[in-house]
Symmetry: C3
């Protein structure tokens, strides 16, 4: 099988084989970061541009390291102090970056669809690093990779995604990918944060974490993103933690081998207690390591497809 | 011929041969950015420092990429969070950077003459990336390169530069370079934005774009830089666009092969309509690509001159 | 002798042999920055992360260049726009960075002890780039290196450290290192800025620079850090300059070969006059060059110790 997609805009666009191909490639590349010399020459002389219009630590650093470990050149677009503050359109900014011979553009933006727009207008490969409430495909990939690594398969695996489903691009990318690979997904949260229409994606809805936690193999606790909601959709953080936070009691109710995930950064005491975050069930730091491997895999495959074209 | 200048402070300082030498070198280096592996080892182990005291996207990225594609190490001086906010003098900051073994300093500053001051005090090569209303030599070079590439020569080529001539370092660098290479320059704009004294540089003055556009081969539309003028020197953007913006009507009046240029970022609807910016006459994105090549050429030549010294 | 320490947290932790080993290594590596190709492959494929929670120009750039000249990959953590503004704990942020396969973390923080905390929780090597009023070991090393380079030895050398001793991590690191290598240290300043307890470290206290300057081989003038003191501990900058600033008169009273140092950035006219800063006695720019060499030495040794472990 050969990789043929030019961009990575969302997991919705990928089929089962493509998803597996990324996961397999990531598995191979993960080893690079454990070497003494963490570098392969795969993307030497290629240029990756990072266009982050939203603040980010881990995602930005992860993409930067992924590019470096493949020996790519890296250029960062700094939103503040940029031409956008001078009234330039997004397309003009991006066209300019392309005109400098950039091979891949990694874009994060608060507006859903920005990566699609860039893909339509630019010749270089576009990687979506999160677009509004739409998709965050590399986060979805790293979550799925981590589950596969831990449980050996996705087929029949029961995954609960807990939290603000309504506003979560992480949830959406996870759902698209997990379902295609045969997992069963239940979304859990207060009714205000779960749109009824989400059932059409093929997931079950639960408003009761205490019930759901007993039946699943994996719980993925979404971050409560105060900075992204206009107003709070639940009475208080304390109530949220009581009803939907992972804590010692819920861990006891669950399978002994429950896999506990979080995309980070954690609000300790809100989405989960410190005890759970640091427990042997938690794979949160493995997710971070795997994110790097998945992003390397995405760069590697997209670059390969360009060479062949 | 051998390159002998240590710095690139302005096009005023270069003679015809030196200008042609940069353009020829850029022509050779332009090909590097079209390769699969966009990198040559010319500046390996050299360090380029970027000192940008004014916001910039394209110029900063272009210099960064130019350094990377020549395999130089790159260090960026971040104005905010810097020693200058601690009361250090510019010379002390720059001397410190030099003491770390930096080979070339690329400087942008709102005060005209800052690159000259650094050249006087530091041993490393200084590249002016824009100093107040004085010069922006690499922008001049890329504009001239693009005209030469498009029309085959500068000799006898008629160029209109439109806009805020009074405050434009881009206009000044263009004028110095174009005249030395045999082009004829007309500056066009409202009387408030064209100092009478500019005629002494050897250019013609026009207040009527509709007349001038009929007679020129190239129109270079300067950006209206709201952020640089204390107060507006024309009644409104709408009036500016009506009198001095490039639009469909003016394009029709002009030669079929009129070359339309803009240093970017474009205010679409002000300096030119979207239709003109995206027309086949527009070479705006080629300017961006050529900017990278010209900056590579400048680094390449300045570095070579240092080796020989 | 073999290097065995995993981290560089402070000069208090190092013995005489370890200090000399860093200084000797720095002496060897200093030559790299004078070459045409300023680069050795020692740290190729290693990743250095810079976590600066306080503003910095020279220290940050010095560490960046040190990493580049050893061919390491470099990643910068940007405090603003980071996960810390999203409520993540410092340990979680650092653990995430470690999970991406970072080999060394260089940290600067306003809280004393932060590097120690990271060293306890992370597996990678930690380099303290300044923690509150505690230590700034690489600044201490570069000061000591510069004295040794200038005078041939530290044994019996008399060093005055002038200024805000109470709040100075630079003073503390200097004192720890200088005393271990056989130098004699006098701290000089107004009584409000010298804690009585400092005598326990093994230094003499002086409130009179005019007396002390006659007896010393080296004067290290600390920066008056307005940004770090809650309120001023002396009546005025002018009075400080009169009593404790280095000027022409005090230079005349001192040994002809007095070595004048300053960690930078200088407040000219406060800690010393411009005349003294630019005099032949001043080694301030050598300190900057030596800082790069010392930081390369620290990276080099810490990396080596990791390989052997």
């Amino acid at each position: 099988m050969k990789w043929t997609k030019k961009h990575l805009l969302g997991l919705k666009d990928l089929d089962r084989n493509e998803l597996n191909m990324i996961l397999d490639t990531a598995e191979g590349l993960k080893e690079v970061s454990t070497r003494s010399i963490k570098k392969v020459p795969a993307l030497q002389g290629r240029t990756v541009a990072l266009l982050f219009f939203e603040p980010s630590t881990r995602t930005s650093m992860s993409f930067q390291l992924a590019a470096q470990r493949l020996s790519a050149d890296l250029i960062q677009f700094n939103k503040s102090g940029s031409s956008l503050s001078k009234g330039e359109t997004l397309i003009d900014t991006a066209s300019n970056i392309e005109a400098m011979g950039v091979d891949m553009v990694v874009v994060r933006h608060s507006c859903p669809g920005v990566p699609q727009i860039l893909a339509k207008h630019l010749n270089c490969a576009i990687v979506n690093a999160g677009d509004g409430c739409h998709e965050h495909p590399t986060q979805g990939l790293l979550d799925i990779f981590t589950i596969r690594e831990k449980l050996g398969t996705l087929e029949g695996v029961k995954v609960a995604i807990v939290g603000d489903i309504r506003h979560s691009r992480v949830a959406r990318s996870n759902i698209f990918g997990l379902l295609k690979l045969g997992a069963k997904v239940t979304v859990v949260g207060p009714p205000t944060l779960i749109p009824k229409s989400i059932a059409k994606m093929g997931v079950e809805i639960s408003y009761n974490l205490d019930e759901t936690i007993k039946k699943v193999d994996v719980v993925n606790c979404l971050r409560i993103q105060m900075e992204r909601q206009g107003r709070s959709n639940f009475p208080s953080l304390r109530e949220y933690a009581l009803l939907f936070g992972m804590n010692r009691d819920r861990l006891k109710k669950a399978s002994k081998n429950l896999v506990v995930m979080h995309p980070g950064p954690i609000n300790r005491g809100v989405e989960m207690t410190a005890e759970v975050a640091d427990s042997k069930n938690s794979v949160i730091l493995q997710q971070v390591s795997n994110g790097l491997a998945c992003r390397m895999a995405v760069f590697y495959l997209l670059n390969g497809s360009r060479i062949d074209v």
